[in-house]
């Protein structure tokens, strides 16, 4: 059976994220990047599946683990690589680094939960604007520990706002497993506010795409917020060298790696082509970033220019 264009594209997008992140992890010890990073290896199907359903002008609110969301949103791989490497050509000119990416209608911030009221405020603006735009807000299981999460859910539901909360449960907050972090049920945290939800334990991008479409069409219809709980797993450490998980557990989850799952839907030659295309794209992105001029301290400006 020939490979469908849709399957091709979903696999390509996931492969782009996978190879970008793996390259970051490989290159980090060589001192090519500033600061730290939080990679998305293992969770690719979530961003690609959900964001394949957004329309132009929709808002995406992301967190510290934002590279996958950004690439799936349509952000430039060159600019992301350059941002990590502190180059002038970076998404934010080297000011933001890995976890504060802002481009078009994409906003990421490394303060867990701090972005959620922003997402609600943007949804309130979009509801008033009446252009049918919606907000997609990613959060993780760790963010369920932040009080601001619940203020945000409450107001989103109270005011019937067009925001889809995408909870990616990767089962660990940094190194601490869920069982030491979370009482009660995840779903109850949304249903308590009357927010309808879909919960899935899958790494199949097609299933996630269908769930994402349901979430987005719900919020776009004006029916108020919607939540999606995606149980997932990250294969790489929280950031770089801080993995304390049992390797057997990681290996267990690797058996449901979303990439081979989707890759099997491509014919062998096409799959190899995709991998080759992506390999070249990633190599080129990092090569161009490395060759770009470093961020220039003389271009730093103080905020609130002047005293007027």
């Amino acid at each position: 059976m020939p490979t469908s264009a849709a399957d091709f594209e979903l696999y390509r997008q996931m492969q782009r994220i996978r190879r970008f992140e793996e390259t970051v992890l490989e290159a980090f010890p060589r001192g090519e990047f500033y600061g730290t990073t939080h990679t998305y290896v293992g969770q690719e199907a979530n961003a690609v599946g959900v964001l394949s359903g957004i329309a132009d002008g929709d808002v995406v609110v992301s967190n510290h683990r934002c590279h996958g969301h950004f690439l799936a949103y349509g952000g430039s791989m060159d600019a992301l690589a350059a941002e990590l490497m502190g180059r002038q050509t970076g998404v934010c000119g080297g000011r933001s680094g890995s976890q504060h990416i802002q481009w078009k209608d994409f906003y990421a911030n490394g303060i867990l939960g701090g972005t959620l009221p922003l997402a609600v405020g943007m949804a309130l603006s979009e509801k008033r604007a009446g252009l049918g735009r919606v907000v997609i807000a990613f959060l993780g299981d760790g963010t369920l520990g932040e009080g601001i999460t619940y203020e945000s859910l409450n107001m989103a539901a109270l005011w019937g706002l067009p925001v889809a909360f995408i909870l990616e449960d990767n089962r660990y907050a940094q190194t601490t497993p869920l069982r030491l972090n979370l009482a009660g049920e995840m779903a109850g945290r949304f249903t308590a506010f009357g927010i309808p939800l879909v919960e899935a334990d899958t790494t199949d991008v097609l299933e996630i795409q269908a769930i994402g479409e349901k979430a987005i069409s719900h919020v776009r219809s004006g029916a108020g917020p919607f939540a999606t709980i995606l149980h997932t797993y990250r294969f790489a450490p929280h950031s770089k060298g801080d993995d304390t998980r049992d390797p057997a557990e990681v290996a267990h989850y690797r058996e449901r790696d979303p990439l081979p799952l989707q890759g099997r839907r491509l014919d062998e030659a096409t799959r190899r082509d995709v991998e080759k295309i992506v390999e070249t794209e990633v190599e080129e992105a990092f090569r161009r970033a490395a060759g770009a001029p470093p961020a220039d301290p003389s271009r730093l400006t103080e905020p609130l220019s002047g005293y007027a």
């Binding site: 701090g114 972005t115 009221p117 609600v120 405020g121 943007m122 603006s125």
Partner: protein, 337 residues
């Protein structure tokens, strides 16, 4: 008589009328209540679609204001008591203040967070504080404080309509019922206003000789500082110049240094305790310029929470006597004639 509260309320009405982009959010802000200090009275009746009463979620509503500002609106968020700003500190410091700069100027956050501060109402330790000092010096966050001089409503309008960056707008509770003082009708004082968006005022006793002391104050303390200025003149023949700031952060050093270059004596007056405060910043700026030629002092609250009982509160918060005592301690000789 027009009060500061009247002017602020009229200014809010004016901004809502002027632009559909202005949205007002806060707790208990709907009519007939109109907010705990009544700044929003009449607003929800006149603009029902743009006045939103919110749950008791200070962090959430400031964050929602940030989100709205990112999408092109000009939100005004009322925080019922300034003491509750601690709950919204993450939103102000990590989001509102940083987004524009962090994004390499791709976005802007024209947000105003208004809040009453200050004591002498007997509300006790968590409803009487002057907490703005904790928000001074945050890059990207402007802190503005209204006083009873000149044009309080215009100051608020500037923050809402003209400023594309986040502003923390501080209103001392005792200013609300205070009469607005016209610069042209200050009785015993002559007043001068700078041309900046958030003005700096300088005030002297009418007919006084050259000042030998610079007093610096803002907000409600400007009233106490004016009283001290008069008593210094009439009781001690010490003539000072009072420099009143409406923008507390970032500090514009120019008007401060200009006055201190003539007096070489600086006394700062604030209602918070002086530790790591606004006055400390001003004294540091002056000391960097004038070094050993500067005599400086700071007046503020005692370093303790604000108590509830009247006599205790009065003993903790700075008064006119404290300003006089500190001024006399600066070794000011009687002004030369």
């Amino acid at each position: 008589m027009t009060t500061v509260l009247d002017e602020l309320r009229q200014s809010l009405h004016g901004c809502m009328q002027e632009s559909e982009q202005v949205i007002f959010l806060g707790e208990d802000v709907l009519d007939p209540y109109g907010g705990a200090f009544k700044a929003a009275r009449g607003l929800s009746t006149a603009y029902p679609a743009r006045v939103i009463t919110t749950p008791v979620s200070e962090a959430g509503i400031v964050g929602i204001g940030v989100g709205m500002a990112l999408r092109g609106l000009r939100p005004v968020v009322e925080i019922m008591f300034g003491d509750f700003l601690t709950l919204a500190a993450d939103q102000l410091i990590n989001h509102a203040a940083k987004l524009r700069w962090m994004s390499n100027d791709q976005v802007q956050v024209p947000l105003v967070v208004r809040t009453p501060m200050g004591g002498r109402r007997g509300y006790g330790p968590t409803h009487s504080q002057t907490l703005e000092k904790h928000f001074l010096g945050v890059p990207g966050l402007r802190v503005v404080a209204v006083c009873d001089l000149d044009d309080p409503g215009g100051l608020l309008r500037s923050a809402i309509m003209e400023d594309d960056d986040p502003v923390l707008f501080v209103e001392h509770k005792l200013l609300y019922p205070a009469a607005v003082q016209s610069l042209h009708d200050l009785g015993e004082f002559d007043g001068h206003r700078s041309g900046t968006r958030y003005p700096v005022y300088s005030i002297r006793v009418v007919g006084a000789p050259n000042p030998v002391l610079t007093l610096a104050a803002y907000g409600h303390m400007t009233d106490l500082a004016r009283k001290a200025l008069l008593r210094l003149a009439y009781e001690h023949e010490i003539f000072g110049e009072l420099v009143i700031f409406t923008q507390l952060s970032p500090v514009d050093p120019a008007p401060l240094l200009e006055s201190v270059s003539r007096t070489r004596r600086l006394l700062t007056v604030e209602e918070a305790s002086v530790a790591a405060g606004w006055g400390a910043e001003l004294v540091a700026i002056a000391a960097e310029r004038f070094g050993p030629d500067l005599r400086a002092g700071r007046v503020g609250a005692r370093q303790m929470p604000v108590p509830a009982a009247g006599p205790l509160e009065e003993a903790v918060l700075p008064g006119v006597e404290d300003i006089l005592r500190a001024a006399l301690n600066l070794g000011v000789a009687t002004s030369s004639r």
